[in-house]
């Protein structure tokens, strides 16, 4: 059995919690966020013949990246960023969050889920923005916690990235990206 520690980082209101609630196995309730500041869930992913358990450290996000305790990021095999495609400021904060995570966890594989892809009419992140993310070292997907679009792909890509860290996800073609 292979396990990987994955930190889920995202600004408040990006739908991160919805992703977790619907697509991963949870043992602990959301109140852990308000008490301990983190809650841990498990996402089982099959990569070829290898079962991989992603232990998701769902860190409570705030507007300020300083709120994310460095100790929760330490030792992470990958970081899962969540941004809201309908709120541009969540996209812009990703770079600051990335710096913060890098300081604590090192240069580990990173993936960005641009969430709420079901609200395309309100979408504010352009393909230029996406390209900027990719060139900045992120792997980018669009997801919808509501429809489930891209969610499973995101986790599977993350698992692959952690299994072969020598292959940067940025060099892989994106599974799908928004707009």
């Amino acid at each position: 059995m292979i396990q990987k520690k994955v930190c889920m980082v995202g600004v408040y209101g990006t739908g991160k919690t919805s992703l977790v609630q619907r697509y991963v196995h949870s043992l602990f309730s959301a109140k852990y966020h308000s008490t301990v500041g983190v809650k841990i869930d498990r996402k089982a992913v099959q990569v070829g013949d290898t079962p991989v358990n992603l232990l998701l450290w769902d860190v409570e996000g705030h507007t300020d990246e300083q709120d994310i305790p460095a100790s929760y990021l330490r030792g992470a095999h990958a970081v899962f960023y969540v941004a809201d495609g309908t709120r541009r400021e969540t996209f812009e904060q990703l770079f600051d969050l990335r710096e913060h995570a890098r300081a604590a966890a090192g240069d580990v594989p990173a993936i960005v889920a641009l969430n709420k892809s079901d609200l395309k009419e309100k979408w504010l992140v352009s393909s230029a923005d996406t390209s900027k993310l990719i060139s900045g070292g992120f792997h980018v997907l669009t997801t919808s916690a509501k429809s489930g679009e891209g969610v499973e792909d995101a986790f599977r890509l993350l698992a692959i990235a952690t299994l072969s860290p020598s292959v940067s996800p940025t060099t892989q073609p994106p599974v799908r990206h928004g707009n």
Binding site: M1, I2, Q3, K4, K5, H25, L27, F28, Y32, V36, G37, V38, K39, I40, D41, R42, V52, N53, L55, W57, P69, S71, Y72, R74, G75, A76, H77, T162
Partner: protein
Amino acid sequence: MANDGVPGTANAGGTGSTSSPSGSGDMSVRELTELRELLFGGERRQLEELRRRLDTAEISSEELAEKLPQAIIHRAARDRQLAIALAPTVESAISESVRRNPREIATAIFPVLGPSIRKAIAETMAGLVNTINRAIDHSLSRRGIRWRLESWRTGVPFAQIVIRHALVYRVEQVFLVHAETGLLLAHVPEGTSRDADLISGMLTAIGDFVNDSFEPKQTGELRAFAAGDVTVLVEPGPQAYVAAVVRGTPPETLPLKLQTTVETIHLQWSNPLTSFDGECTPFATTAPLLEECIETVLATDQAARRKGLRQFAWAIPVVLIVAAVAWWWTRGARRWNEMLTRLETEPGIAVIRSERSGGKWRLTGMRDPLATNPAALMTAAGIDTTDVVAQWEPYVSTEPALILARARRVLAPPGGVTLTLTGDLLTAAGRAPAAWIVRAEGLAPALAGVASVDFSRVSPGLPAAMETPATEIEQAHVLFAPGADALDIPALAAITELATRWVRLTTAARTNRYDVTLQIVGRADPTGAESDNLALSRRRAVAVRDRLVVLGIPTRQLAVDATGSNDPLPAENPAERARLNRSASFAVLAQPSARAGGAERVR
């Protein structure tokens, strides 16, 4: 270097210029060699010296001796590889030492061996005793029965009921967690929690949370936290930590046990820990080590010890009540048995059978007619004689007390005589009328239980109580003037005193069953004719008798006699004798009362 080079260079230049045209090949090689020697000779020699030192063992050892202690310290501080590497050698060395000279090692470890053995034995014995105590306690106690009932009622196995009620602590789960990532490396018991990986992550997060929140870098790390009766003990290590979930109160020894486990894991799984990247398969083999931490300790022996004798406190009043009731119920029987014992010891009574039937005591036995009345003995012992049906057969007892009683009854000894029995010899002592002595001597040998008699210590006479007044009476005289029979003042006084003594004597005689008569003897001095003297003496006796009758003495107790001048009372001289015999003297006639036989004059 400079000295070597300068002449060499000059020499080489000179040789080269002269020989170069003729044999340039040989010369050039030689020159080159020389040139090399000139240019690099010093370095080459240094190089050879270095090589020699590298190749020569002595120099290496010397250097090693310099470096070794420091090297060991450095390596030991870094990890345990040195210890692992040395372990087999040290083990072999010790084995070899023991094989060659066991005394050396034995002497060295003696100070630690004794206490260790004692401790091990004590712990084993304590464990054994606890096991026995617990088994007895559980199977026999009220609590044990109650738990069995609970088990039967709820369908839960008895063992679980015991654990639920008697648990001191139980190590339920042990996690081995990678310190940095919080990923689960191993978990025992297997299959107890599907989400052990999430829990281990959360444990790590909580540890981080405490670290971040309360800055325990000064105070230490999170080692334990508790909720309700569950405590989580965390034993940290550099690369992994062990967390034990404990229900109940964990003992002080548990952290030490966990610490040993962490150390062992760091030692034996050093490589998988260092290179850990999410693959937890290598740690499956830590399970047996972790399972050693799983244990359950019950409180039953502690509780039993604490309660001790106090748990039997309730029994004290119960025992007292039972004892009181039993005492009350058996009181009648005990009284009866006491009375039987008393009867058995009573002379002349032989109990043959005693039984309780129909609410009454039934008693069968034999009784000498002279023995104490058994009914009186029963009453004295507090037995209600209306509850007793007794049947006594008469018999003659030969017990000494009964033989004596029979002798007294038959012989009726006067008050001055005591009878004693020595074996079958009946002895009488004291003073008794001669007639009684004769009669008793004849009767006594015929008594049952008496083989011979000894009456030699019985002297004939009155009983002591009668003797004194009788003697006083017989020594008294009522004196008369010559030729006169009238009572003068001293004579009247003497008669009054005599009457008093007579009353005393008759009282004593009644007690001693004697009949007494006062004989008044009239006397006269030798002067004159004997016939006149006899008449005078009779008148004198009658005068005294009449006066005693006046004083209240019954006539039937009085007898009159006259001697004249015959049988005179003795005296020292004739004049005194004449005076003493102008008188009335007295004699006491005593005989045992009518029942004892005929009259006897004792004086």
